[in-house]
Symmetry: C2
């Protein structure tokens, strides 16, 4: 049989066909038509049904791990296309032509450690994963505009790869697995891009004889990540340079960032799962924690629990397992401070740990006394933070400013510290003096999604700029809250020597400090409580289901079952759930 | 008090002092003297004593984790300097001047995942770690030639870093912690390099008025990693370009690579520990393994055991947990094949897992029936591989070619397959027909050290080139063995459809195959056994202490204790050890 992929006659036929299609076929059907918004809306509606009924392919790691409908990504793509078309239409003078084009995203590449052949376990790039849900490396993906047609371009490997890494599934199997419209070998990517831009391998066709403008665009992702200060780099492959006139790097990034800020129902259910798994792992760690263990043994247990019971191969971030004075180092756990302290009698443990599943994150912090008993002073700080958590969660709803929530948490903590004899004077004066940032130098929380610090915290168009005030300037978003946003709420209160010393040297702050009482707390670390909440139409739901009341914490540490029989803190809006064969089922206590 | 670090008068004084020292002081003492080989030899002798007596600073992760003497790295540095001086002397026409200079190494940088602020847990670059043993990011290190004086250059962070990542220890504390001669702030690196090259901030001093040649060299690391095909990149910082005339990238790489090939006593003891921890973890996994578990649950358990009992935060490589047919994919476990199969009754599990501690690797494979019972055919393949393992380990000694060991393993396996009725004809003919590579397409093993696939497998000067023959061409080294080398011995026998089909289509190979019998084994995966051995003066020691006899495997799976009461396979040369408060203690069964 003729090998069709290399027979020159076949290739010429194929090229001819592509040229014909690009002039008359579906690739350019929109040239003379308005955008097929109806199609996109239908795609979106279908995806929503597929998600809610869990139709079509799913991702799962077996046993009773969560079954993620791949339609989640179909829905993301439909939402993205809808937003892109709206944006392109509104910015275009001619009615429709600029809506034509193709979105190109480049998946992550398998890396090696320095010069060696050591390959860290691959984790997909988040924009690509949001769009296509493909966990493998070295893949490209496109979405046609306005049709919304999705295509994956996958590497084709040889015999050596098959022996060492396994045979590649057929293109059709990949298509079924990920629920995309097409799958093609990666060496056809350039031809495909050309066809989408009404061109061929010989070049791009510009305006035709009938006066129709051809301005189909190649949309690439490029923009600033406001959490890292790093730039997201546009997709690249050898040969893409020839489309420089059609390259558009202005539209896609802000559009996809904004789409990622608002979580869909299936995304929220998936994050409910990662929160459930991580909450149960926190409970397990609380139960097993004992004086004389090492901090890293808690990290190891958490990772083991979430992987073996939840299928979570990756953590959302490096575990912070900070005991005794360690919690005053906010990002404890990195290579320079590797969770290597021994737990001592009387220590508070602050454990900030969250697993991810199918690249969707959780981010949870629990604090508890490692010996199972709160001292009066420990309880004072614990309840100060808990009061902040309750104050914020009972206030959250659409229209509320996240900046105001940060201030609300500060107020609750300062008020408790005043009641506990650490501070003097009016809380309003303390806020004016930036005293809140002495005890909570970090922001109240952040958007969370595919990344623990998710995109969209600050954007050029719709958010107020970052505040310059201590505390507030660390806030990873200053947005007004809207339904569908998922954020962490993580108030904390720490005793950080260098900050306390600065406060003592600052008359506006020192006048509020009861120095002797404050000094009693030096070296005691601190407390943080962190939940992941989704903003609803009239308030919020708490996805995290950890022990929060001090009585709950002590009960769990004393071996009582979790979840409890009664919810003693309904104001925390914890949604009690169970995993029923890979689905999250809610119930009332 | 005057802030000396910014007072211009002080800076001028310091500069003047540096210029004086560079002309008359210890920086250039070698300009008119032969290399201080005596000093270097004394450094080496001191380091050996410090290692054997565990004097000076140690690295340990607490509890009874291994106590690594930091003198291990002092010894590495002394050996490196000694080799550098020998090489530079022998290549120099003038007797000593070219031996002067400074080695500059750049430690790894903390990276972020794509454009986000997600920071993977930092793991030091291996050449840097071998030399200095510093686990933290963003550090430079130098070694002066010929004196051997070592200096670390560390970043100095500000208040924000201290709050989020912890305060930096003092320079003196860092010096004590790592056992180096000096620690300086990173912003003094360029001045220091200049001084080492007999220059100042104004430039490099060339030959002096007395006719003395100044050709002090800046030695940078640059060369090819033969396992990955990647290049190791020379240390860089802004401003280093001005030393281009003094730059030497020829000498350091081959010298340090060759030094890394030969492990010192303290390195071998450290690798004995990682092997012990990983062996015990393999035993734990064997004990807990049950039908219906998922492959990744074995991975999770192994990681948890090695971290929580051994302080191993990193694995040497991604765990291969391959059950049923999966072992026929040699690098199973990557993101495209993520250990996600369920263990079925009748499966063989092939688990290739090894943890690292203080960046020193272990690399161990066990194979066993998940239901605790070998079928006759499974036992045939298991014993075929075990016979290869025994044949090689009883033959290993200095002077033996590793290529010959690969052939020896192939012969043992082919002979067993012939005895088992899978193959026909003479084993010699099978070898000539490359039939060994059908059943074992990978190499017998590789050098191991800081990297699982350690450097030095092929070098320009002392090793024969890579063979082109199937199987042999995958061998990661073709060296003649010498005492002090640590290598993996990992024979395997797999049933890989695509290779069996190729063999059937090749008359030279197919004539040896009993097709029906071979086909009975299709889909059964395969078996690999992997030990880490150190070549001794008269043979080898096996650092891995896993169950190997099939009876040992079944005993462990049935709950019997490990290590056993009697060593039924003394020919495997397993060294029975226990961890006594962070030291490895050997004992006889």
């Amino acid at each position: 049989m003729v090998n069709m992929s290399t027979d020159p006659t076949f290739l010429l036929l194929l090229l001819g066909l592509l040229v014909i299609m690009s002039n008359y076929g579906h690739f350019s059907s929109a040239l003379r038509m308005p955008p097929i918004v109806v199609d996109v809306k239908k795609r979106q509606a279908d995806a929503e049904i597929n998600c809610s009924e869990c139709k079509g392919p799913v991702y799962s790691l077996g046993l009773n791990t969560y079954q993620v409908p791949m339609a989640l990504h179909e829905l993301n793509r439909a939402r993205l296309v809808q937003s892109m078309l709206e944006k392109l239409d509104s910015s275009s003078s001619s009615s429709s032509s600029s809506s034509r084009g193709v979105i190109l995203l480049e998946g992550g590449k398998q890396t090696t450690r320095y010069d060696t052949d050591h390959e860290p376990v691959f984790r997909q790039e988040s924009f690509f994963h949001w769009t296509f849900g493909v966990p493998e490396a070295d893949v490209y993906g496109t979405i046609s505009l306005p049709s919304g047609e999705s295509t994956l371009f996958v590497p084709i490997y040889g015999l050596d790869y098959e022996i060492f890494c396994g045979s590649s599934p057929s293109l059709d199997n990949i298509r079924s697995k990920y629920g995309v419209d097409n799958v093609l070998p990666i060496d056809q990517l350039d031809d495909y891009i050309a066809s989408q831009l009404d061109g061929s391998v010989d070049g791009i066709n510009e305006d035709d004889d009938n006066g129709n403008v051809n301005d189909a665009q190649l949309h690439l992702l490029s923009g600033l990540n406001t959490d890292s200060g790093n730039y997201c780099m546009a997709a690249h492959y050898d040969g893409i340079e020839k489309y420089s006139k059609r390259r558009n790097t202005d539209t896609l990034f802000p559009t996809i960032v904004e789409a990622r800020v608002f979580k869909t129902k299936p995304e929220i259910e998936l994050m409910r799962y990662t929160n459930w798994v991580s909450s149960m792992a926190h409970v397990e760690v609380m139960k097993c924690c004992q004086v004389k263990m090492m901090e890293y043994q808690l990290e190891s247990l958490f990772q083991h629990y979430t992987y073996t019971h939840g299928g979570c191969r990756h953590q959302s971030y490096t575990c912070v397992c900070a005991c005794g004075p360690s919690p005053s180092i906010l990002h404890y756990g990195h290579a320079g401070r590797p969770n290597d302290r021994q737990l001592l009698d009387g220590d508070i443990a602050l454990l900030d740990m969250g697993a991810e599943y199918h690249c969707y994150a959780s981010d949870i912090t629990c604090s508890f006394p490692v010996n199972g008993k709160f001292s009066d002073d420990q309880l004072l700080i614990y309840n100060a933070v808990l009061s902040a958590q309750i104050a914020v969660i009972t206030t959250l709803k659409p229209g509320i400013s996240y900046l105001d929530m940060h201030r609300l948490a500060e107020r609750a903590i300062l008020k408790s510290l005043k009641n506990g004899g650490l501070l003097l004077g009016e809380v309003d004066d303390m806020i004016d003096a930036d005293l809140g940032a002495i005890f909570m130098p970090h922001g109240l929380g952040h958007l969370i999604g595919l990344d623990a610090h998710d995109v969209g915290g600050y954007t050029e168009t719709i958010t107020r700029p970052r505040s310059e005030r201590p505390g507030l300037k660390k806030l990873r978003t200053a947005r007004t809250l809207e339904a569908g946003m998922v954020l962490t709420i993580e108030p904390g209160c720490y005793f950080i020597d260098v900050l306390l010393d600065l406060a003592l040297a600052n008359p506006k702050q020192s006048k509020h400090l009861c120095v002797e009482r404050v000094n009693e707390f030096r070296g005691s670390g601190g407390v943080r409580l962190e939940d992941d909440v989704v903003i609803t139409d009239d308030g919020c739901e708490n996805l995290t289901v950890c022990p929060r009341a001090s009585s709950e914490v002590l009960d769990v540490m004393n071996g009582k079952p979790w979840p409890p029989e009664k919810d003693v803190l309904p104001e925390l809006r914890r949604n009690w759930v169970n995993n029923d064969n890979g689905k999250m089922v809610r119930y009332d206590l």
